[in-house]
Amino acid sequence: MVIQKEMIAEHYERLERAPETGEPVVYTFVPGNLTELIRSFGCLPVLPEINALQSGMRGKSRDYIAEAEKHGHSEDVCTYVKCDIGMVLAGNIGPTGTKLPKPDLLLLSYTGCYTFMKWFELLREQYDCPCVFLHVPYQGDGIIEPEHREYMVKQIKELVIPALEKISGRKYDEDALRERLELSVQAEDDLVWVLESAKNTPSPIDAYFGAVYYVGPIFSAFRGTPEGVAYYKALRREVQQRLDAGLGPVAPAGPLNDQKYRLVVEGPPNWTHFREFWQMFADEGAVVVASTYSKVGGTYDFGFRHNPADPLGTMGDYCAGCYTNHNLTNRIDMLCQYLRDYKADGFLINSVKSCNSFSAGQLMILREVEKRTGLPGGFIESDLVDPRYFSAANIKNRLESYLQMVEARRAGGSREARAS
């Protein structure tokens, strides 16, 4: 945690100095981010979702959202967008208190979320800067079709790279990109090891609340960097120590060693009450052993690794493979696999108002996963960064009821076992 905080703080400070240092700044999104490519041109990435969620965690999103709504943004739409727009309108001071630079380029990696397109059209109005669009086809049939891969590679070659060359004044250097991709693979290996450590009992990590910290560097500015590699090595060592000592994760109010329930969670967390939300689980002895949200920036635990031998193709594969770019059938399969592989007691869906990419269809996912696995599913509702949609009492009540249901199923299962 300390290392990550330092990394993030340093990155934001570097961003603040960018207008003086001349380092070009590229805004892009977490799913389908081309961080290695951006970095290979000496550019600095900014990820607006990260800013929004950080603003949510730091209690700033309410005012930013209000500011955006005052400027005509609907109460019905994504609160990440409104939080970001509100932050820009309020002077663009980032979550760590440093001034965010204007983008030299908006790299619209259109991966798994319709709103991304509008978000950067809106930001383009604010910043009056160029925007390059990378269209990542959705896996409507559950596979990355070869033609789609080719289409993505062509776009990277013919549109994205020239745009980066233009703002950076550098020529595309494939060797430099390969070196970065090699670093990515190292970090990806360690991240997967950490996530899979939750297969142990007790789990040394919380694969939802804890994992959002673990995926932070690799989902944002640090994939393909030596700092990223060092971070994941340190994280792996720390988790290994916990594993050796038979310890659980450290929840907001202390260690969660006595783990009564092993859960899988689908959907993003709520950020405005993140610690309170986590503690509700911890108070019940519930640890999350796998989550889908921690795969929005890459489904590494299903085997994907960046391939330095095919730098542009691998970026296409990466983009198309991010979690929300998968169709519902794949998402259901993933959840079923998690429930099985992580020996979970059940699964919970945190359905967020803001994100139709995740939320539309989740009630169907709930039914299908229950049907296929026979394990109980629960459903809670909140939002990403709008505190008006976090009802603590309601969520706590639903969580407790859900865990009672898990308990009842267990008791029923034991009775059946005894009877047979």
């Binding site: 609907s74 409507g140 289409y151 539309a360 269809g361 169907m364």
Partner: protein, 391 residues
């Protein structure tokens, strides 16, 4: 028969199709065409030419505010628009069981994810998610879309048991060029003489056109156009407005009537935008799939569901549409929770207001039943333009 009677007859025919929640027109078509099949498509844009060329009936699935939602709500949280609820209701109640295939265009994440739900709910039906080309480069976009269309062409041919030859596709393109042409004529007449073409009537005709096939639609649309051109109606003192934001979930007919009766002439709109998504004719020469792809990439209407590569595009869009329609103001009418319309609205409205164009905005749902607030808003808007518009 008098012109008024012809036009009333067409409107009554269209209204009957619109009001029918059992898709009888589709079922009758299938009965009348043994061995042929029907392919549904969701809003906004799907290549109907390809469906038609496979010998199938293209069926627009636009939901309905008139259907009682029993099963549909069980699939969606409260913060998701109404459209997929009524569509799921139609499907779950067996009303769409005559379809052999459904196409889901990349309108938004709700429709995208509904394609996945459909795959699970109806495993025997052909389901295809259509990723419209979003890339700014026309050559790349056209090549991508051509390949997608080839897949749809091949797959629908398989479902229909028909080889979709170039000649068949070209014939369908020619037919749909006629459809687009008559729709353009109807829209032009309404813009020129809105008292001759009340939007309520035009909308019903367009809506019927989503269910009856291009041949039947053309026949009725021609009858209506001929009658409307010369069936002189009284000119009223109304404000000319554009409605925008209603391209996917459709407003209830009552809302359209309310706006016009509150003192507005609707002179342009984006209702059922898919039927005029391609702004010009599709070329009949060369490879027909390429022609369809090029027509979309190079000639699609400006809409919220496609990326706008021009940085000034959003700012200028309403200004240009207002100028083209000689409108006095813009009504932003979006369905509740409609991401494309509501995310676009600040940009479009800002551009319009900076150009000095009066605007109002409200939200509806396809099942909105109370129109008093809309009447008051639209009436006040119209009055304010008439009273102070030139001040």
């Amino acid at each position: 028969m008098s012109r008024t009677a012809i036009r009333s007859e067409v409107v009554e025919w269209a209204s009957g199709i619109y009001e029918d929640l059992e898709f009888t027109a589709v079922r009758q078509w299938l009965e009348g065409h043994p061995g042929r099949k029907a392919c549904g498509y969701l809003p906004v844009y799907a290549p109907r030419e390809v469906i038609h060329a496979a010998g199938m009936l293209p069926v627009g699935i636009h939901g309905s505010g008139n259907i009682e939602i029993i099963r549909g709500d069980a699939f969606y949280q409260s913060y998701i628009c109404h459209l997929p609820r009524s569509i799921v209701e139609f499907a779950q109640s067996g009303r769409l069981d005559m379809l052999s295939a459904v196409l889901f265009p990349s309108t938004c994440d709700v429709i995208r994810n509904l394609s996945g739900m459909w795959q699970i709910l109806f495993p025997d039906m052909y389901v295809r998610y259509l990723d419209l080309p979003q890339v700014a480069d026309p050559a790349l976009g056209a090549e991508f879309w051509r390949r997608e269309l080839e897949v749809v062409r091949r797959e629908l041919g398989r479902v229909a048991g028909v080889e979709v030859t170039d000649a068949r596709l070209r014939e369908s393109i020619a037919l749909y060029n006629e459809v687009r042409a008559i729709i353009r004529q109807l829209y032009a007449l309404r813009s020129e003489k809105p008292w001759q073409v009340p939007t309520e009537e035009l909308y019903l005709l367009m809506r019927a056109g989503e269910l009856v096939g291009p041949e039947a639609f053309l026949e009725k649309a021609r009858e209506y156009l001929t009658a409307a051109q010369s069936d002189d109606q009284r000119v009223r003192d109304r404000t000319r407005v554009i409605i925008t934001g209603s391209f996917c979930e459709q407003p209830p007919l009552g809302l359209i009537k309310t706006i016009e009766r509150a003192g507005c002439y609707i002179v342009d709109d984006d209702f059922l935008a898919g039927n005029r998504f391609l702004t010009g004719d599709v070329a009949l020469e060369g490879d027909p799939t390429t022609a369809l792809a090029e027509a979309l990439v190079r000639g699609a209407v400006k809409t919220s569901v496609l990326y706008e590569p021009d940085p000034a595009g959003k700012r200028n869009l309403m200004k240009n549409r207002v100028a083209a329609a000689r409108a006095d103001g813009v009504i932003f009418a979006a369905a509740s929770f409609c991401d494309p319309a509501l995310l676009d609205r600040p940009m479009l409205r800002d551009g319009a207001e900076k150009a000095g164009i009066p605007c109002i905005a409200f939200k509806f749902a396809e099942n909105s039943g109370q129109f008093q607030q809309f009447r008051e808003q639209a009436g006040t808007f119209s009055d304010s333009i008439k009273l102070w518009g030139d001040a």
